[in-house]
């Protein structure tokens, strides 16, 4: 993932937004986010909900996941 240009940006955004808590689900969240940004570079909240809607985070880090995706989208512009 770190060798993929979008993947690296998303990982960096995750670190910058301090998204992770327990971290167990975050590899999956990041993969879904990368797939979303590759198909939809400027995702809306609805796009984000649709793409990551099946990725459960029991810690509940969804607010920062949204922020990180939006920050990564800005970076990729």
């Amino acid at each position: 993932m770190a060798n993929d240009p979008v993947g690296r940006v998303v990982q960096d955004a995750w670190v910058a937004q301090d998204v992770v808590q327990c971290g167990y689900c975050q590899s999956g969240q990041i993969m879904s986010a990368v797939a979303l940004l590759k198909s939809t570079p400027k995702p809306t909240d609805t796009n984000i909900e649709e793409s990551l809607g099946g990725n459960l985070c029991r810690c509940g880090t969804y607010v920062r996941i949204r922020e990180a995706i939006k920050a990564a989208s800005q970076k990729l512009k």
Binding site: M1, A2, Q11, W14, V15, A16, D18, V19, V20, Q21, C22, G23, Y24, C25, Q26, S27, I30, D45, I48, E49, L52, G53, G54, N55, L56, C57, R58, C59, G60, T61, Y62, V63, R64, I65, R66
Partner: protein, 731 residues
């Protein structure tokens, strides 16, 4: 800010090698912790001077890297960043060189207040803040003493900054260079800690040290552990809690390639059948092929429907007194028109941490080694020792990173560790990892207990409650355990009534009692424990009273709160101020709801913007204000609240209940017991922290209780209905 934990180093530096290196003190500085715990004095308990055995909290390597050992499990709450911040700040360390490591089980790492090594009660920062400050100050003093000795100057002539000691005449030395000499200095008994105004790290937004490793997948959780020759085990548990094994037909299971053994093991209650194989999937498939005949004759089959009937009946009678003030008969004097009678239902809840429960054990006859993401190292270590007929100090216990926990990894009977040890006993010399699948966990008990509340309120002329009679029915979490003497008072488990019996509202005639039935279902603390249901009851009823009084629910609360409820008053005022702009321009179909609650010493207020979409509450925005004393890492506190409110919303999910029918749990996985997904979570959560230099209090659990009442209070404004039965199946 570039500080990141180096995952490769973290794992190469295993607990054992770290301790071995430390023991030789070669090229590093060790600081032993001992003596004074000012927090104990603050709590009113006698300060206990205790000489701790020499052990390491700080390891300064010759290259300047500083490894700080964290005496807590890291399972999301961020303590493995916050406690190193506290220590590094006091020692004036270069934060970019700081790494964190989780402590193995050892006496020196026990919680200074609780006396066992654990994470619980939101106590990590609250109990170890002063401890880590003093450790940092001692380390700094020893480094300064070493430099002063070399330079033949007085320590007072030296100052420290970013891992460098500066002396007179432009002399300077890096911590890494001084470490060996510093290790030979005496550990000062008394040290001066910083004035909060001097903090460089504490109080700043610091990103997590474990973030990169959790984003690139390199961080290893307990479940990821792989040891040479390791086997994997699963256990077939009886379909009703406490059932026993009558007979096992394992012919088909044993024929599966890779299956090593099948045998009966004792469980915390009853018995089960362990299946050991070369890998997980083989073990799981073999378990599916087992034909076990269970003996369920001695066990009571719990049934949610029957329990509700029993609980509601009990709620109509007074239980053991939890709180009593004023006149108990005051209620009868109030006319029926000015009374509220309310019954509440709360179901069993599972914690379902994302990383399935697991523990790895290797038993070598006269010693054992354990790897577990444990919130209860001391308890789990003792359980393994007992199962293997060893002494606790013969059991090396490694704390692994855990994928969530929320209380599920703090189990008094250590049932997972006991099962793993029982299997390892049979496999002597071979490491074995026991995995509880998601289904095992959802069906395996150890739930937040179901509760019924019955409340009768008499309302005075001014719209405030003048009489309040409240009965709480639910299982005790600790009856019959070593925790009972501490937590059961007058026959009342304090964890069942917390948040009600100690309410901060002024209610002149106030009577709370509790019943603790004992159905055959194992129960456990679920993040924020009794506050999960008590805050819901109190905050929805207070809201209803405010509505009847035709008052703004925030103003009503401020009027009703006791004058000394400072943390709640400050939180409420801040939440009100920060939400006023958006509350004033809500779109049609939206309403706001408020709630406040104090728990674990932290005051929280929250205001939620809610609409109804597809028959479900949609939470658009939440404003949270928190008074947690000194905010050690505001970025982490914000994270705990932004995400903790989502955990709290679990209670409102339409499939947010564990139910039993004829002793069997009716849910199996996330299809039947569904925690919040992104669409169920607030789109935005704004967190504001009340500025404070008071002693820091916990932030792990306090986010949870406030959100559900705030959301249903908003729903009540939209629908005119009151919601007293959870989960929220219909709006």
């Amino acid at each position: 800010m570039t500080a990141t934990i180096n995952p490769a180093n973290t794992h190469q530096l295993s607990r054992r090698s770290f301790l071995r290196v430390s023991a030789t003190a070669a090229g590093g500085l060790l600081v032993s912790l001992y003596l004074d715990f000012p927090l104990l004095a603050q709590e009113g308990a006698a300060p206990k001077a205790r000489a701790y055995p020499p052990d390491a909290f700080v390891h300064i390597k010759p290259d300047g890297k500083i490894v700080i050992t964290v005496n807590r499990l890291e399972f999301g709450q961020g303590v493995q960043t916050s406690l190193p911040m506290v220590l590094a700040d006091e020692m004036d360390a270069d934060w970019s060189q700081v790494m964190a490591e989780l402590a193995p089980a050892a006496d020196v790492y026990k919680d200074p207040l609780f006396g066992i090594q654990m994470v619980g009660g939101s106590g990590s920062i609250a109990h170890s803040f002063q401890q880590y400050r003093e450790l940092g100050a001692r380390t700094r003093a020893m480094l300064v003493a070493a430099a002063a000795e070399q330079w033949k100057v007085a320590p007072e002539q030296c100052r420290t900054e970013a891992s460098v000691v500066h002396g007179p005449g432009g002399k300077s030395a890096k911590y890494g260079e001084l470490a060996e000499a510093a290790a030979k200095q005496p550990v000062p008994a008394i040290v001066k800690v910083k004035d909060p105004a001097q903090f460089k790290l504490v109080g700043k937004n610091m990103r997590r040290l474990d973030s990169r490793a959790k984003c690139d997948g390199s961080l290893k959780f307990g479940l990821d552990l792989d040891l040479p020759g390791m086997k994997t085990a699963v256990v077939a548990h009886p379909p009703v809690f406490g059932g026993r094994v009558k007979s096992i037909d394992d012919k088909a299971a044993r024929e599966l390639a890779g299956v090593q053994d099948v045998f009966e093991i004792p469980l915390a209650k009853g018995a089960g059948v362990a299946v050991v194989a070369d890998k997980f999937w083989t073990a799981k498939q073999a378990r599916d092929l087992l034909k076990v005949e269970w003996d369920l004759s001695p066990v009571e089959p719990a049934d949610s429907g029957k329990l509700w009937t029993q609980y509601k009946e009990l709620a109509r009678t007074a239980g053991n007194v939890a709180a009593s003030q004023g006149d108990q008969k005051a209620l009868e004097a109030i006319p029926a028109a000015n009374r509220i009678e309310a019954e509440f239902e709360f179901p069993y809840l599972a914690h379902t941490p994302m990383e399935p429960l697991n523990t790895t054990v290797r038993f070598d006859g006269d010693k054992a080694e354990v790897w577990a993401g444990s919130q209860f190292q001391t308890v789990d270590q003792m359980a393994v020792a007992q199962t293997l007929e060893l002494k606790p100090d013969q059991v090396t216990f490694h704390t692994e990173y855990a994928g969530g926990g929320f209380g599920r990894r703090a189990v008094i009977d250590s049932h997972v560790q006991r099962e793993a040890a029982a299997i390892a006993k049979k496999l002597r010399g071979t490491p074995v990892k026991l995995i509880w699948t998601r289904e095992d966990d959802v069906q395996g008990g150890y739930y937040r207990p179901m509760h019924a509340h019955r409340v009768e309120i008499g309302i005075g002329q001014d719209g405030t409650p003048t009489a309040w009679r409240h009965v709480i029915v639910g299982q005790s979490l600790v009856a019959g355990t070593p925790f009972a003497p501490m937590l059961i008072k007058n026959g009342v488990d304090q964890t069942a009534v917390e948040g009600t019996a100690d309410t901060h509202y002024i209610i002149p005639n106030f009577h709370v009692s509790a019943h603790h039935p004992t159905p055959n279902v194992p129960v456990l603390w679920w993040r924020s424990v009794g506050h999960t249901h008590n805050a819901f009851v109190m905050e929805t009823l207070i809201d209803e009273l405010a509505a009847r009084a035709k008052m703004n629910p925030i103003a009503y609360r401020l009027k009703l709160l006791k004058p000394d409820a400072g943390k709640l008053r400050r939180s409420l005022a801040l939440a009100a101020e920060k939400s006023i702009a958006w509350r004033g321009k809500l779109p049609k179909g939206h309403a706001w709801g408020a709630a406040c609650h104090e728990c674990f010493g932290t005051g929280v207020a929250c205001v939620a913007d809610v609409s109804v979409e597809n028959g479900r509450p949609r939470v658009h925005r939440v404003t949270v204000a928190v008074d947690c004393g000194l905010a050690v890492n505001p970025l982490t506190i914000e994270a705990q609240f932004q995400a903790g409110v989502v955990f709290g919303l679990s209670q409102l999910m339409s499939k947010g209940a564990i139910t039993l029918k004829d002793g069997r749990v009716e849910q199996r996985n996330f299809d039947g017991y569904t925690p919040p997904y992104m669409v169920d979570a607030p789109v935005a959560v704004d967190v504001y922290i009340v500025p404070s230099n008071e002693a820091p209090t916990g932030c792990g659990e306090p986010p949870v209780p406030v959100i559900s009442p705030a959301v249903v209070n908003a729903l009540a404004r939209l629908t005119g209905k009151r919601y007293r039965s959870l989960p929220l199946t219909a709006v």
